[in-house]
């Protein structure tokens, strides 16, 4: 099943980003992009971003993807979109936005299964099934939660009255929210970036803002996000992850990296949904999505009724 939606603005930004990427720093040379934009029908490529060795003996594996199409792609959870072993299935998205999206979800392998591999299988339309393994072992894919050289760490995110969490596995809200179709549901997360940076470095003379982005993660219908008056959307262009990730419209800046973010969500169809909230500090010179630091996910389940 494929799902298309108007993406003119996203395409334009993606093309701009691509041009920015292929043009060298030497303005005197003329870039010649090799490939025309994708016309659709391309598979979603699954990426195993890396693995974290946890103190309790478990292993957390971070997964992301690259949708090479210019349209969003829907792949419902099930035979064509599954994690094996099935015990660990369920946190992967069913909607794939255009471009590269690192660390969209994570799977934690319990200590009792530490030596096992998890596999993410995904089959887009008529394309062949693609799959990647995740496990502890390869040094090249080992991740950690230590401060980066300029102090960036995974920021903290939480839902009201819930525990704080961080990293790609982040937190899942303890409570499922309920709302009816087309009604407004205000979602709120608390955020704090505990990164300690050197203020004598001219890049950090002023505290950096962090960013919250709201995404539909799972669910049968469309989810629309409109800004909440307390936290207006960012309207400036965004070239996150070096232009490989088209800008999401539902972006909120958190001044000085501390404070709540709110958004108003509406749902087009009844059913069970999951919203993903990504909090990142990619304004820092030592933090970027493709460098695998530093952001945190939070997931809110929503039951939508008629």
């Amino acid at each position: 099943m494929r799902h298309f939606r108007p993406v003119t603005a996203i395409v334009a930004l993606a093309l701009l980003a691509n041009v920015a990427m292929v043009v060298s720093v030497n303005a005197q040379q003329i870039a010649r992009p090799l490939l025309p934009p994708s016309q659709g029908g391309m598979p979603v490529i699954p990426f195993m971003e890396g693995w974290y060795d946890n103190e309790d003996g478990s292993v957390t594996v971070s997964f992301g993807y690259h949708n090479r199409n210019t349209e969003d792609v829907i792949v419902p959870l099930g035979e064509n979109n599954r994690i094996e072993p099935a015990l660990l299935d369920g946190m992967q998205p069913d909607i794939y936005f255009a471009g590269r999206h690192p660390g969209v979800f994570a799977v934690t392998i319990p200590a009792s299964m530490k030596d096992e591999s998890v596999w993410w299988h995904i089959k887009t339309g008529d394309s062949q099934e693609l799959k990647v393994p995740g496990e502890s072992g390869s040094n090249a894919y080992e991740l950690d939660r230590n401060p980066r050289p300029q102090g960036s760490v995974q920021p903290l995110i939480w839902f009201e009255n819930d525990n704080r969490g961080s990293g790609p596995e982040g937190v899942v809200a303890a409570n499922t929210r309920s709302v009816s179709v087309d009604a407004h549901l205000t979602l709120k997360v608390g955020t704090e970036d505990p990164s300690v940076r050197d203020p004598s470095n001219p890049l950090f003379a002023k505290p950096l803002s962090t960013r919250v982005i709201w995404y539909k993660h799972q669910g049968p219908g469309e989810v629309s996000f409109t800004e909440h008056s307390s936290t207006p959307f960012i309207t400036t262009p965004d070239l996150s992850t070096r232009g490989m990730m088209p800008a999401a419209s539902s972006r909120v800046a958190i001044p000085a990296g501390k404070g709540p973010a709110r958004v108003v969500a509406t749902f087009s169809e009844p059913g069970d949904y999951m919203i993903r909230v990504r909090l990142d500090n990619w304004n820092s010179s030592d933090s970027d999505g493709l460098d695998q630091c530093c952001w945190s996910n939070a997931y809110q389940r929503v039951r939508v009724t008629k």
């Binding site: 720093v25 005197q28 003329i30 010649r32 699954p46 390869s138 050289p149």
Partner: protein
């Protein structure tokens, strides 16, 4: 231990040891059959010591980055079969650049001559004998292992800038350290040579260390131009005579250092490194030095956005660049990571439809990023409209000894486990008159050579 846990110990060199252990006899037999040209007795003392002293000992010595010492016969003899294999296959010295095609006029070319290769092969085939001690050449005069590579040529650098120290853990995610240091440069000057030098164990954990002349604007954005690029194994850069590459006055130096915890290659410490520091040395021309040709170093991108290497698969990228004025290509340094295994540089001439292969590197490795410096009198000259065509190849199969996990999809990213696809190319920018002058000079040289019968 899981074999994937040991991947970074599988440097090309160690891989070679394994291969030799498994197939050494067959390989030696094959090499013996291929190199039967030297009938005279070849000994370490009479022939081989000179070759090894001049080409190997600089790294293969106590404290050097080579995993074994090769400073004496006793050191060399146990490794003779492996040395033969590596030398015959042109894997050592580690300067991957195809020898039978494209521009062969390179400065700082580490490759052995075919004659020296034949001598080493014959020596091992004859039993790797010591020979007459009286024929031994004097031991090599080795400069301090921490000395600058251009010290003999240019003395000490005029400017040395060290990065801030940083501790690198034994394992974990790649790290990027970006910070600023005052350059101390008070007037624009022309650069003669550059070297970036990680200290001690930093050599195996510093994946790259780029430097930029930087200015921080009021809004916090950074305006920057490359000083030089360093990636693992790089020797340095020399700017041709008559060319000015500017060291900009009153600028900061921005360090952009990518570190790989645990290290990469045969001498990787697989341990924490305390106080990792990288030094930048800049040799300047005298104040007042004038040159009508300007040079800059820049990255030339291939199709990085389209770089997707499937599990157990291969991929290739291409990049195309042209200029609105004539240029000369002074150096070429392809960049990639663990899956990249080959690169080339071509020039396409639209007026004739002809494509000229300039450089081919069929056995590229991420542990040796050489900047191939073309001799100025034969460096490629590009008229307006000519197109630089860069190509890079990737191998994500188990056949690639550097591959950390052939089951993964690999795309663009800065991490060592991800891939990149660009080249650092130093370009001399020419006006039409200078281009004509250089082209005529070369034509005259060619006619002279033909006339002299050389």
């Amino acid at each position: 231990m899981n074999i994937l846990q040991k991947w970074n110990e599988c440097s090309p060199l160690r891989f070679g040891i394994v291969i030799f252990t498994l197939f050494g006899f067959q390989a030696q037999t094959a090499i013996a059959a291929d190199f039967e040209g030297i009938a005279e007795e070849v000994t370490y003392a009479s022939h081989v010591a000179r070759i090894i002293n001049e080409n190997c000992v600089v790294c293969h010595r106590e404290g050097g980055i080579g995993p074994m010492q090769l400073g004496s016969y006793d050191h060399v003899r146990p490794w003779a079969p492996l040395i033969q294999l590596k030398v015959a296959n042109r894997e050592m010295p580690p300067y991957a650049y195809d020898h039978d095609i494209g521009n062969q006029n390179l400065q700082a070319d580490w490759r052995l001559s075919q004659e020296d290769i034949d001598i080493v092969v014959a020596w091992v085939n004859q039993g790797a004998l010591l020979g007459n001690l009286e024929e031994l050449p004097p031991p090599p005069t080795l400069r301090n292992i921490n000395e600058w590579n251009f010290a003999d040529q240019f003395g000490q650098p005029d400017i040395m800038i060290s990065s801030n120290p940083i501790d690198i853990p034994a394992n974990g995610n790649d790290l990027w350290d970006k910070h600023f240091i005052e350059s101390g440069i008070t007037e624009d000057r022309c650069i003669r040579a550059l070297q970036v030098k990680p200290r001690g164990d930093a050599k195996t954990v510093v994946h790259h260390a780029n430097t930029y002349f930087a200015e921080i604007k009021e809004d916090g954005s950074v305006d920057r131009k490359p000083v030089t690029e360093y990636a693992m194994g790089k020797w340095g850069e020399v700017v041709p005579e008559g060319v000015c590459r500017t060291a900009f006055a009153d600028s900061l130096i921005q360090w952009d250092i990518h570190m790989y915890p645990g290290g990469l290659g045969g001498t990787a410490p697989n341990a924490a490194v305390k106080d990792n520091i990288v030094d930048l040395g800049i040799w300047l021309h005298p104040a007042g030095y004038k040159a009508k040709i300007t040079q800059d170093l820049a990255t030339y991108q291939l199709d990085q956005g389209g770089l997707f290497i499937p599990p157990h698969g291969t991929a290739m990228t291409q990049g195309f660049h042209s200029f609105d004025h004539p240029v000369r290509i002074d150096s070429f340094q392809p960049h990639g990571h663990l899956r990249m295994n080959a690169a080339s540089l071509e020039i396409f001439y639209p007026e004739t439809g002809r494509t000229e292969l300039i450089s081919m590197i069929s056995n590229w490795s991420a542990t040796w990023h050489h900047s191939h410096l073309y001799e100025p009198d034969s460096a490629p000259l590009l008229p307006i409209g000519a197109v630089l065509v860069t190509k890079q190849w990737y191998d994500n199969t188990a056949n690639n000894p550097n591959n950390p996990d052939p089951r993964q999809w690999v795309g663009w990213g800065q991490r060592t486990a991800d891939e990149m696809s660009h080249s650092w190319i130093a370009i001399s920018h020419l006006d039409n008159d200078t281009y004509q002058e250089l082209a005529e000079q070369r034509e005259n040289n060619k006619q002279s050579e033909l006339g002299s019968g050389d």
